[in-house]
């Protein structure tokens, strides 16, 4: 088990760790495998290509893409402020920004309802402007952005911190103003972190259910995303629900695989190798 020939310097892990680790791995994989056993394979393709299924999948992909863009637009400045800024209440702000990570999505939905809903904090002002968010696709995007934003901020802030400020200082002494430093040095350096953060945000948006259900409602083609469709189909058509669940799992696996396929990018240690 300890790959004798391959990595002689590797630290040997106690056997029982392997055993427990295997149990942990199975704990995650077994339910997925169990679900696969329930898939009605002969009907699989018709089930997932039925009108409502495709509509829900399309809506999910579209709204998640928009939410991801929104997460990047809002999350990059937020991560920069948290990683590079120094201001009172910074720690508090960080905790609050990460709150949606630990908040039950339905609570997020209620909070959004009280903000953007018809009788919410901003909702009444918005409706004066003729903007109706409730029951619209916009509401889905808002719910998804709300729950996905911390993923992007967390991932990017980590990248910014590990990248450090040395390259930025070097750029400044070469005459680059803050804007140039951000555009030509900081962002390219943390691009891998930004990419993985964006992918995670997309995946989280795709899986968003609770906040959407509470805040946006459920109408085919407008607000009924794939998870909501699965939830509904489960009532009358478990085969479709299982088939669509599998589709969601496959997409999630593909996304996670895509993000973590590359090992740690060799960006941060590139002052050149020492002379041999």
């Amino acid at each position: 088990m300890h790959g004798a020939g391959k990595a002689p310097a590797a630290i040997t892990i106690p056997l029982w760790i392997w055993v427990v680790a295997a149990a942990g791995g199975l704990f995650i994989l077994l339910p997925l495998a169990a679900m696969v056993t329930r898939v009605n394979w002969p009907q699989f393709v018709p089930l997932i290509t039925s009108g409502p299924s495709l509509t829900a999948l399309g809506l999910s992909l579209r709204t998640s893409a928009v939410s991801t863009v929104l997460c990047i637009v809002l999350g990059v400045p937020l991560a920069l402020v948290l990683a590079r800024g120094q201001f009172p209440g910074q720690r508090l702000l960080r905790s609050l920004v990460l709150l949606p990570l630990v908040l039950p999505p339905v609570v997020g939905g209620i909070a959004l309802l009280y903000t953007f809903g018809r009788r919410g904090l901003l909702g009444s002002s918005l409706s004066v402007l003729g903007i109706q968010i409730a029951f619209s696709t916009t509401a889905v995007v808002l719910a998804q952005t709300f729950v996905a934003l911390p993923f992007l901020v967390l991932s990017l802030e980590g990248s910014l911190r590990s990248a450090g400020t040395r390259y930025e200082s070097a750029a400044a002494t070469l005459g680059a103003g803050p804007g140039t430093v951000l555009r030509r040095v900081t962002l390219p350096l943390v691009l891998p972190g930004l990419a993985s953060g964006a992918v995670l945000a997309f995946a989280r948006s795709l899986g968003e259910f609770g906040a959407t259900l509470t805040f946006a409602g459920s109408l085919e083609g407008v607000t009924r995303t794939l998870p909501l469709e699965i939830y509904l189909q489960r009532e009358t058509d478990p085969d479709t629900a299982v088939a669509l669940s599998l589709v969601l799992v496959v997409i999630a696996v593909a996304i996670v695989g895509l993000t973590f396929r590359r090992t740690a990018p060799k960006l941060l240690n590139s002052g050149g190798t020492r002379d041999a």
Binding site: G175, V181, R184, P188, L189, K266, G271
Partner: protein, 398 residues
């Protein structure tokens, strides 16, 4: 990135910032047309960083290279950060060719507007840019077109003999190559002042001499401050040497003078000299622990005033028994350490050292802890006045 609104406020061109010293030349800011301004070609800093216990005053004329040496933690990098604009002083002021860089409390020019490039110990080449674009970074930031910036970058790559690497990525370079590119990149920004923070410290020992040669070439006729721990850098690259200790300049002067007549123990160590401080007498010096030392007394040394005696370890003979007879100095010494030194053995006894031949050492059979006698001829001891260096004396060479 962290300016408070008050200190980051820019003083409009031509306006006298409040709280500014009256004797100073009022800067005109950058490029105020019409106003006739005197632009003294000098860099000066007189500033303190309270929380790091730093207080320095230093001036550099145009085209002068100053080496800053000092023990670890003396504040050398802090000094560079202060000048480059990466660190805020708690008080003081700095000017570069008539431009105010900072005047604590009223004026602050951010790093990117100072025209001061900083070359760090590590090359810090931007990993996502090619070598060419790394070097073109400065010109691009100054507003040059892509084409012009690349042309400039090629020129500077040529200057450091690295044109062949133009299209490589930093990850494909060795440490020495990368540092060469970093030098080209710093020069391409055409700074008014170049700061070098131990540029050879992270390099392999075999690469350092080549890079030193390169630096000697490119620093010629350029204003630069080089922080180093190597006295060779100071000798080869600098016109003047400044010794920094505990955040203060303890010694400054032309490199050769400092090394010949070191005032501080650190400088004496750099020069490889034994140094004893005390009070000048008619024929020599009385050390602080009341030991008489005979030597050649400099004309400037006034009896009764503080003085410094120096002698080379090679001038010291070591005996197992006291040796009498003038004109000689004999110091009883307890051996603390032995080490090879060229083709000789260096015997250390506290702050003093003696170099003896291998055969002499064999006869002596010295061992740490044994008591010996260091003997040095009076003619080999130079005695000169001790100067209390005030920071404002660290001015440019005459």
């Amino acid at each position: 990135m962290t300016h408070s609104p008050e200190t980051s406020r820019q003083v409009p061109s031509g306006q006298v910032p409040s709280g500014q010293g009256t004797s100073r030349q009022v800067p005109s800011g950058q490029g105020t047309s019409g106003a006739v301004t005197v632009r003294p070609a000098v860099f000066s800093i007189d500033a303190a960083v309270a929380d790091r216990g730093m207080s320095v005053s230093l001036e550099l004329s145009d085209k002068e290279t100053v080496a800053v040496l000092g023990p670890n933690g003396a504040g050398k990098s802090t000094l560079l950060g202060l000048i480059a604009g990466l660190l805020r002083p708690s008080s003081g002021r700095a000017d570069l060719d008539g431009r105010v860089l900072f005047d604590a409390g009223t004026h602050w020019v951010p790093a990117h507007q100072r025209k001061i490039a900083l070359l760090a110990q590590e090359p810090l080449l931007f990993p996502h840019l090619t070598v060419l674009d790394n070097v073109a970074f400065g010109p691009r930031s100054a507003g040059a077109s892509r084409g012009d910036a690349r042309r400039a970058a090629r020129h500077w790559l040529g200057e450091v003999d690295a044109l062949g690497f133009a299209h490589r990525r930093p990850g494909q370079l060795s440490g020495g190559q990368a540092q060469r590119i970093a030098i080209a990149r710093a020069l391409a920004a055409e700074p008014d002042l170049l700061l070098l923070d131990e540029p050879m410290a992270a390099l392999d020992i075999t690469v350092a001499p080549m890079l030193r040669k390169l630096l000697k070439r490119v620093l010629a006729g350029r204003r630069a401050i080089i922080v180093t721990h190597d006295v060779v850098d100071a000798l080869v690259l600098a016109d003047r040497l400044v010794v920094l200790d505990a955040g203060r300049i303890v010694e400054a002067g032309p490199t050769r003078l400092v090394l010949e007549r070191p005032q501080s123990a650190f400088a004496a160590g750099l020069a490889g000299l034994n140094q004893i401080t005390g009070t000048v007498t008619g024929h020599g010096l009385v050390s602080e622990d009341n030991m008489s030392i005979a030597g050649v007394v400099d004309d400037a040394a006034v009896p009764g005033e503080p003085g410094v005696a120096v002698f080379r370890p090679g001038a010291v003979s070591v005996f197992p028994e006291p040796v009498h007879g003038s004109p000689r100095n004999t110091f009883p010494a307890t051996i603390t350490d032995l080490e090879p030194h060229g083709d000789q053995i260096r015997i250390r006894a506290g702050a003093l050292a003696a170099d003896v031949t291998l055969s002499a050492a064999a006869d002596l059979a010295p061992a740490p802890g044994s008591i010996v006698y260091f003997v040095v001829k009076a003619a080999a001891v130079v005695i000169y006045p001790a100067k209390t260096v005030r920071n404002d004396e660290a001015g440019p060479r005459p």
